[in-house]
């Protein structure tokens, strides 16, 4: 029997919590959600969220959701776009700060 080797593509779905802040809540249409996803990195997860939203809302432009100015956070810690997501992670996406 060959050992089971999983690629990101055929990894099973994991359950994650997604939180949005500032304008991203309006743009993606939710604040907080628990979802099943096969995404293994914040980059993949973001791509998935944006793709779903663009399909529903033809008026929205992909440029408004470009990841350049957005920072991913995993479990209250700033993360990199290619960090690994694991079951139960709380993933947040933050637009540029506008405090002060």
């Amino acid at each position: 029997m060959r050992p089971e080797i999983k690629s990101a593509q055929d990894s099973p779905a994991r359950q994650l919590t997604v939180e949005l802040y500032g304008r991203l809540k309006d743009q993606l249409g939710f604040v907080h959600s628990t979802r099943q996803t096969t995404a293994t990195t914040p980059a993949q997860l973001w791509q998935e969220l944006v793709a779903e939203r663009l399909q529903q809302h033809k008026g929205l432009e992909a440029a408004q959701l470009a990841p350049e100015s957005i920072r991913p956070v995993i479990n209250d810690t700033f993360a990199a776009w290619d960090d690994t997501l694991t079951e139960g992670d709380r993933v947040a996406f933050l637009p540029p700060s506008s405090g002060g």
């Binding site: 304008r23 956070v73 947040a92 637009p95 405090g99 002060g100």
Partner: protein, 136 residues
Amino acid sequence: MFALSQQPINAQSLRQQCQDPQAGGFVCFEGWVRDHNQGKSVTRLAYEAYPALAKSEGERILAEARQRFDIVQAVCVHRVGMLDIGDMAVWVGVSAAHRDAAFKACRYILDEVKSRVPIWKNESWTDGESGWVEQE
């Protein structure tokens, strides 16, 4: 000390945290809610934060300021929730032996807090609309 506050900011008590017999200069900045911004007439605004990260990033900025400048105390509090015109949104206070360090550190903390601490401003305008505002 960096903190978020749901309540109106008490500048007097924060100022006292900066007092020290070695300090000869004290600089503070207060950010107030203006009645206009980027050409729009503002009626009120709301600040939302990511509290856990705001606190850690704010403390990191204060530690950087203490490393870069010869200061005695540095304190910053940012308001969250609903604010009216004239309300204080942010307070930064720095005491130092000499004025130059106090001015530079206060400015550094303010600029870094505005750009790095995860807090977002939502303005309500006189036309009844509201929206998230990006940095000027």
